[in-house]
Amino acid sequence: MSNQAQLLPGTLDLLILRAVSLGPLHGYGILLRIGQISGNALLIEQGALYPGLFRLVRQGLLKASWGTSENNRRAKFYELTSAGRKRLREETANWNRLVSAIGSALGAQPEEV
């Protein structure tokens, strides 16, 4: 537990989009997928997922439909819309820019300044 990192504000939406981009998923499945693709390194309280999901649906980035899960239970499945796909691309690019900027800032040596 202790080696899990707190999510930065705003990054949950990006993670959800990324998880869903790999194929339609229900809420719990999204959580598992995030764990899987992040190597279980991120701490997400389970319930916190849902406000994000509803927000993304409202923004038209995700669409939802009811179906049956692999456990044979009724569940709501989410998939990306085309707007969602576009947003994911933009956000990923943004994120990469941010990471490299912060990274180079933090990695700067005294003689480089």
Binding site: G47, Y50, R55
Partner: protein, 884 residues
């Protein structure tokens, strides 16, 4: 676990609320099930797996709330939830809710009723097509009346009005189906229908041709109410003939329902052309510039602005003044908002209503302060609950919202009750007639828009007192509060918002109490003041012989003298006399008085205007008017003997600079010298609040009049005596329609009416203010005592004296009461200046008033802290300490 259970309960109650809610619920449950499946696969028993899954899921309610907000459009739903919560809160403390609703009902009702009256009398336009173009034309200075030639000149010379009309309200003897009854009628000039611009309900309205010249037409138009009350809404009325003051008229039309003329306070039954006035009024004033008796109403052309109208009126008035310097010198005209006789009574009425509106606002503010401090106290009690809710993830805004929703709900409940109350009050007011021979009718029927106003006031009031606990909620520190067991130890010594609120509330209530006492005192003075005559055991009977076909000639004089003789023979009659009218009846003549040496009779050489009455011998005795010097009028004063008059002290002082003026002379407008033969005491002539006015009595035998007011002083005023007098009148001539007959004192009710209205209105506000301050002080005092009972009992146990306990418990209370009352009385004194316009001799500097207000404040304070003080003093330390 308990928290979870209550959360599940809440989930259950919310479950059916909507499709979306249900889906959201199912989705979250599905999530937990999936998680439980996984946990079960890892070896846990199913029940334990589900429990773990729920715990791992986290703050269920919070996430659901957030999800709902994230999904958008669910504000209403979360509001609904708040409403449910508020209802539960109210059910838990019904006493509090009931008190709050009651206080608000009164506070809001006061505002809605006052607003209803303001809306009807001031804000609402006349119910006429393009009412914004209709204005009252009136002189810039003095009374509201114009002469016919003035109106005619404006009508013929202007380019800014599409129509100009004059009208006069007149009492008529209306004879239909063989019965003559006195009704209120209206003489209107030719363009009246064009000014008001309405369509007739039946037949046609009067037009220019009807008013072309005297006798041009015998057409008469009934009003809706006249048609209903006098003719039973006969659908075949058009074409029927009636007689007005013995002259035949043909009904040509009926005005529609809802048309009340252009004044909001009266309604007449029948309208006739003004050209015929000489035959109805007995005087031909159509060409007289000095006979000012008409109201004028105009319709402004489209596209013409008020400054343009004023410029044109200035030009016309200047021209009239130049052409007729003798009568019209200094004439100036203006237009004013119609409905309340222009600015004449409109001004004072608007002023008074603004004052009352302000008082109503103050009462509502005080009520809000009151309930606000109760709310704040209650929030302090709920500190622990609020802390727990903060701890489990509720946001402070959410808690505040719930408090505000509760407040607004209470206040909307109050508003709904207030609406019902106001509706009843206004309907009652609209159907009520003030005590008067005039047919006053207040067009104040409640409008649906009042509901909206009540709703708005409620919401504003609710938010106002709902946000008062704001600071408390936002500074609550969950940790500290839960640890300290919910009592805020720090609050004891600090001045809290509720203390300030209490002081403010006491101050506001003192204002209303002061206003109430001032007007009560004024009314008391008005009831006992010297009117200049004595109405005790005096009967007054009024009619106009003109309505029975008499002219101003020997026949009328003969009738009146016979009446005098016969009535004086009725057993029990002490004195009897008659006059054309009496003081305070609102129809006394006003005439210009000129010094004896005057030769040029233009307005600027007038000494002053005087009220005048034509009286018979014996009138002074019968009416109880004191003759100070000289002689009474006598029947030996005839048109052939030199003109004489009795004048009052004020008249003598103003003209002769001495009250001993018997034998002196003055002149009237026609240049006739009149000798003063008697001096009488000053009295009231138009309103009770007026300063001494000059007045003159002329012998009616020198100037006959068909208008007759019979004054009979009896040993006792009884209904028998009224019947006997009526019988004498009808024995002399059955056709004479008696306008009114009864005790003079009750006929003066209209004069007392403004002070009475003011006293009732202010009295209600005063009583309500008092109630509020008692409730507020009592509430806060008991709260303070109960909060500190434990501390105080420890002090008692340690040997503190009663005095110390008292000052500890209620010292601050007394400071609040004292300072609040002092500020309130000062404000009240300042505000009462406004009252003096309506209430006779209203003065807040009256020591009686100040003493009464101070006494009331002290008594109220003592009364409301007595209970809590007793409780504090009688607290038994042993019992109390054991209990806690």
């Amino acid at each position: 676990m308990k928290v979870l259970n209550s959360l599940r309960f809440r989930m259950a109650t919310l479950f059916h609320r909507s499709q979306m809610n249900a889906e959201m619920e199912e989705e979250l449950r599905s999530h937990i099930q999936h998680r439980a499946d996984d946990l079960e696969r890892s070896g846990l028993p199913r029940a334990e797996a589900e429990r773990r899954a729920r715990i791992e899921f986290g703050g269920h309610v919070r996430y659901k709330d957030e999800s709902r907000e994230a999904a958008g459009g669910t504000l209403i739903e979360s509001l609904l939830e708040d409403v449910t919560f508020a209802v539960r809160q109210m059910r838990r403390s019904p006493g509090f809710a009931l008190t709050a609703v009651l206080i608000l009902t009164l506070g809001i009702a006061a505002n809605v009723i006052v607003f209803g009256v303001v809306q009807a009398l001031v804000l609402r336009q006349l119910d006429l097509p393009h009412a914004d173009r209709v204005m009252t034309l009136q002189p810039k200075n003095g009374g509201p009346f114009l002469s016919y030639p003035e109106v005619r000149d404006v009508r013929d010379q202007n380019s800014v009005f599409s129509a100009v009309a004059a009208f006069e309200v007149q009492d008529f003897g209306l004879e239909a189906n063989g019965v003559t009854r006195p009704v209120w009628g209206c003489e209107v000039s030719g363009q009246y229908s064009e000014v008001v611009g309405i369509k007739p309900f039946l037949g046609r309205l009067l037009n220019r041709a009807d008013d072309d010249h005297p006798g041009a037409s015998d057409a008469a138009v009934l009003s809706w109410s006249g048609w209903n009350s006098d003719f039973g809404a006969d659908p075949n009325i058009v074409g029927k003939t009636v007689r007005i003051d013995k002259h035949p008229y043909t009904i040509v039309g009926v005005t529609p329902e809802g048309f009340y003329g252009t004044e909001k306070i009266g309604v007449s039954d029948i309208c006739v052309p003004m050209a015929n006035e000489a035959s109805l009024d007995g005087v031909n004033w159509l060409d007289s510039r000095s006979y000012k008796n008409l109201f004028s109403i105009v319709r402004i052309k489209d596209g013409v602005t008020l400054p343009q109208v004023q410029a044109e009126l200035d030009t016309i008035a200047a021209r009239i003044a130049q052409q007729h310097p003798k009568e019209e010198e200094g004439l100036a005209l203006k237009v004013a908002r119609p409905g309340l006789i222009g600015d004449f009574i409109g001004g004072p009425v608007r002023g008074f209503l603004a004052g009352v509106m302000a008082l109503a606002g103050i009462v509502l503010l005080a009520a809000c302060a009151n309930i606000g401090s109760l709310f704040a106290a209650r929030t302090a009690d709920r500190a622990r609950e609020i802390a727990i809710r903060l701890a489990i993830g509720s946001s402070r805004w959410r808690i505040l919202r719930q408090v505000v929703v509760e407040a607004v709900m209470i206040s909307i409940l109050g508003g709904a009750c207030a609406c019902a109350l106001a509706w009843m009050a206004l309907t009652g007011l609209a159907s009520w007639q003030p005590p008067s021979r005039f047919n006053f009718k207040f067009q104040v029927l409640p409008q649906p828009s009042l509901i909206l106003i009540a709703f708005l006031i409620s919401v504003v009031a609710g938010v106002l007192f709902g946000v008062m606990p704001l600071r408390q909620i936002f500074k609550t520190d969950p940790n500290a509060t839960i640890k300290s067991g919910g009592s805020q130890s720090s609050a004891v010594r600090r001045w809290a918002l509720r203390d300030v609120l209490l002081a403010a509330q006491i101050a506001l209530c003192c204002v209303t109490v002061t206003a109430a006492f001032v007007s009560l005192r004024g009314l008391g003075k008005a009831l006992t003041m010297d009117l200049g005559f004595n109405t005790k055991n005096v009967l007054r009977t009024q009619f106009d012989l003109n309505q029975a076909g008499y002219n101003v000639d020997a026949a009328a004089d003969h009738f009146q003298r016979q009446l005098l003789e016969r009535v004086s023979q009725i057993p029990g009659v002490e004195a009897v006399g008659y006059a054309n009218t009496t003081p305070l009846a609102f129809d006394a003549g006003v005439a210009a008085v000129f010094p004896q040496q005057t030769v040029d009779f233009r307005p600027s050489s007038t000494a002053f205007d005087t009220y005048y009455y034509d009286v018979s011998p014996g009138y002074l005795t019968a009416s109880g008017t004191r003759l100070l010097e000289g002689r009474d009028v006598s029947f030996s004063d005839t048109p052939k003997t030199p003109p004489v008059a009795i004048v009052n002290q004020e008249f003598a002082r103003r003209l002769f600079h001495s009250e001993h003026a018997v034998g002196h002379y003055f002149k009237n407008r026609s240049g006739v010298s009149i000798q003063v033969v008697g001096i009488m005491a000053d009295g009231k002539h138009f309103t009770l609040s007026e300063d001494p006015q000059p007045a003159a009595f002329f012998p009616i035998s020198q100037k006959a009049d068909t208008k007759t007011t019979l004054i009979v002083r009896t040993q006792r005023d009884t209904a028998d005596m009224v019947a006997a007098i009526r019988k004498v009148v009808s024995d002399l001539d059955r056709a004479v329609p008696i306008r009114e007959s009864g005790p003079w004192s009750s006929q003066l009710a209209l004069n007392l009416f403004p002070s009475q209205v003011a006293t009732v209105a202010l009295g209600v506000f005063g009583a309500f203010g008092l109630l509020l301050s008692i409730a507020g002080t009592f509430g806060l005092a008991s709260y303070t005592v109960s909060k500190r009972l434990r501390e105080m009992s420890i002090r008692v146990a340690l040997g503190a004296q009663a005095k110390q306990i008292l000052s500890a418990a209620l010292g601050r209370m007394l400071i609040l009461l004292g300072s609040g009352s002092a500020v309130g009385i000062l404000l009240g004194v300042a505000a009462s200046r406004l009252l003096s316009a309506i209430v006779y001799q209203a003065s807040a500097h009256d020591p009686f008033v100040l003493a009464a207000v101070a006494c009331t404040a002290v008594l109220t304070g003592l009364l409301s802290v007595a209970g809590p003080v007793k409780r504090a003093l009688h607290a038994d330390p042993a019992t109390l300490l054991r209990e806690q």
